[in-house]
């Protein structure tokens, strides 16, 4: 769990605070995507959590402990940290990089070696092939995987990520976002992910926190933020295609009227496909409804254009499709 209470940062000499009294609660095991225009204070907020930047005001509690009272160096060994350029140490091998924090913590050699291999395997890099390579010989995506492995090596409960995939090519980025999200969920890490990429925020965040000029303007589940932007600024930041984006969060299975027989000759859509895919099939075929299939002998149900329209408009959801996570505090 990470809790920020009235946290602010006023850089010496700056006209106004870079971060201005932020309250934010991230539940244990959840990922919060911190998003907003460049210069709005995302990085500053993130770096106050591991005290690479000293807050000017407020309190930050990580895993029950007040961060501002801790020894910053020891504190950081218990908080994973991943940054855009990865900041891998070029003079150390991949294994040496991943072993950084375990070595600082004084683990014995055998335990470190085992841990390095486990971490590399976790992020999808074959230890036998990658252990002894140098960062310079890796692709951007591979480097970022090593960066994540290094951050997770000592099993910190909390992870801070600052635009981790911004420098990776789009194809690899999508793959990384899916895989890393899956890993973080499985390990139940509490994560703050800074990004300026809305798709990344929606894809990876259990919640999305939107910042503007050092203030937090909205913090909610992605679908809620997309359905009901807090103000005109958030609405504009999300873009006029936010209704379409929201459809990527919902599956055909969750939105269909189950048990209802589809009309004769209705095109099929897989149950796990997103509503955006379903809509695309509907528009492409000119049909009014789709047969939702899951590989069984009969369709699971029917998905109508009207149902999608109702969801996209943020109307009360008849099927309860949007119920991924409990309400926020």
């Amino acid at each position: 769990m990470i809790r920020l209470e009235g946290v602010g940062k006023h850089y010496p000499g700056a006209a106004r605070p870079a971060v201005d009294g932020i309250d934010l609660l991230i539940e244990e095991g959840r990922t919060c995507a911190l998003i907003g225009p460049s210069g709005c204070g995302k990085t500053t907020t993130l770096r106050m959590v591991n005290r690479l930047i000293e807050p000017s005001s407020g309190r930050i509690v990580v895993a029950g402990r007040d961060v501002t009272a801790a020894d910053p160096v020891k504190l950081r060994r218990g908080i994973g940290y991943v940054i855009q350029g990865t900041g891998l140490f070029p003079h150390l091998s991949v294994a040496g990089n991943v072993a950084t924090v375990p070595r600082l913590l004084g683990w014995d050699r055998a335990r470190i070696a085992a841990r390095v291999d486990a971490m590399l395997g976790l992020v999808g890099l074959d230890p036998a092939l990658f252990r002894d390579r140098r960062p310079a010989s890796l692709s951007g995506g591979q480097r970022q995987r090593v960066g994540v492995a290094r951050a997770l090596a000592a099993d910190p409960p909390v992870l801070l990520m600052d635009e981790p995939f911004a420098a990776v090519d789009p194809l690899e980025r999508g793959r990384l976002q899916r895989e890393i999200t899956e890993i973080l969920r499985r390990l139940r890490k509490t994560v703050i992910l800074v990004t300026h990429d809305l798709d990344e925020a929606i894809r990876m965040g259990d919640t999305v926190a939107v910042m503007r000029d050092g203030r937090l303007v909205q913090h909610d589940r992605p679908d809620q933020v997309l359905a009901a932007p807090a103000d005109a600024f958030v609405a504009e930041f999300l873009g006029s295609d936010r209704a379409l984006r929201r459809l990527t969060l919902l599956t055909a299975a969750a939105a269909c009227r189950s048990g209802e027989r589809p009309p004769e000759g209705a095109p099929e859509v897989p149950a796990e496909a997103s509503l955006q895919v379903a809509l695309s099939i509907l528009l492409g075929s000119g049909a009014e409804a789709l047969a939702v299939v899951d590989g069984g002998p009969r369709p699971v149900g029917t998905l109508s254009l009207a149902a999608i329209r109702a969801l996209a408009a943020g109307l009360p959801d008849p099927s309860g499709a949007v119920a991924r996570s409990p309400p926020l505090v």
Binding site: V73, Y81, G87, L88, F89, T100, A151
Partner: protein, 214 residues
């Protein structure tokens, strides 16, 4: 040529003594220059406000002619080994100091940030990340300092510091060409050896950093 060989055969102990003096003078001066330049360079990268004036001062020091630097303190310090070492330290210091600062300044800030973020204490960041990454540039500074000191140490003979300069000076005074040439070649060889030795260390340090910088 034959004269040279004959002279070398006739004076092995002279060559050995002046060579020993030259090596001692240069080695000691380099050691002290490094002992001052390295920590001072590290301290100045942490105190950017002091760095400006010190760099300006050191740049001025660097333009002072080597012979002038050696003799300028003559009335103050007199002659002999000690004043020679003082002058040679001042002569080698700029290269060590400026390259230490340039090397540390050239370490990418995101790597330092990542190191701090992983929980390395300031001294650990310096020892495990910054110094290894700055090593090639720092070694290049030590290489120039070594070559410059060995060269300038030739002039130490004029303030009684001994070294190979003695052969050149005596050769000139006695119109003894073989001795003159022997002294000149000996200094050139020692300077070349310093260049090659530190050049090798520099390449080793660079290789440790991997094929290309990321």
């Amino acid at each position: 040529m034959l004269d040279l060989v004959a002279w070398l055969r006739a004076h092995p102990d002279l060559l050995l003594r002046t060579g020993g003096e030259h090596a001692l003078l240069s080695g000691l001066s380099l050691l002290i220059a490094a002992g001052i330049g390295l920590p001072l360079g590290i301290a100045l990268t942490r105190q950017p406000r002091l760095a400006g004036p010190v760099v300006a001062l050191v740049n001025t020091l660097r333009t002072i002619p080597s012979l002038a630097l050696l003799v300028i303190m003559l009335p103050l310090l007199g002659t002999g080994t000690a004043p020679s070492v003082v002058a040679l330290v001042l002569y080698g210091l700029p290269a060590v100091l400026l390259n230490t600062m340039a090397g540390l300044g050239g370490v990418p800030s995101d790597i330092v940030d990542a190191a701090r973020g992983q929980g390395l204490a300031p001294a650990q960041v310096l020892a495990r990340v910054e110094l290894p990454l700055a090593a090639p540039v720092i070694l290049a500074g030590l290489r120039s300092a070594a070559v410059q000191i060995v060269a300038a140490a030739t002039l130490a003979v004029f303030i009684g510091g001994g070294g190979f300069g003695e052969l050149i000076s005596a050769g000139m005074g006695l119109l003894d060409t073989p001795q003159l040439v022997a002294g000149a070649l000996a200094v050139a060889a020692m300077a070349g050896a310093a260049e090659l030795g530190f050049g090798w260390a520099e390449r080793m340090a660079t290789r440790r950093l991997g094929p290309t910088a990321p």
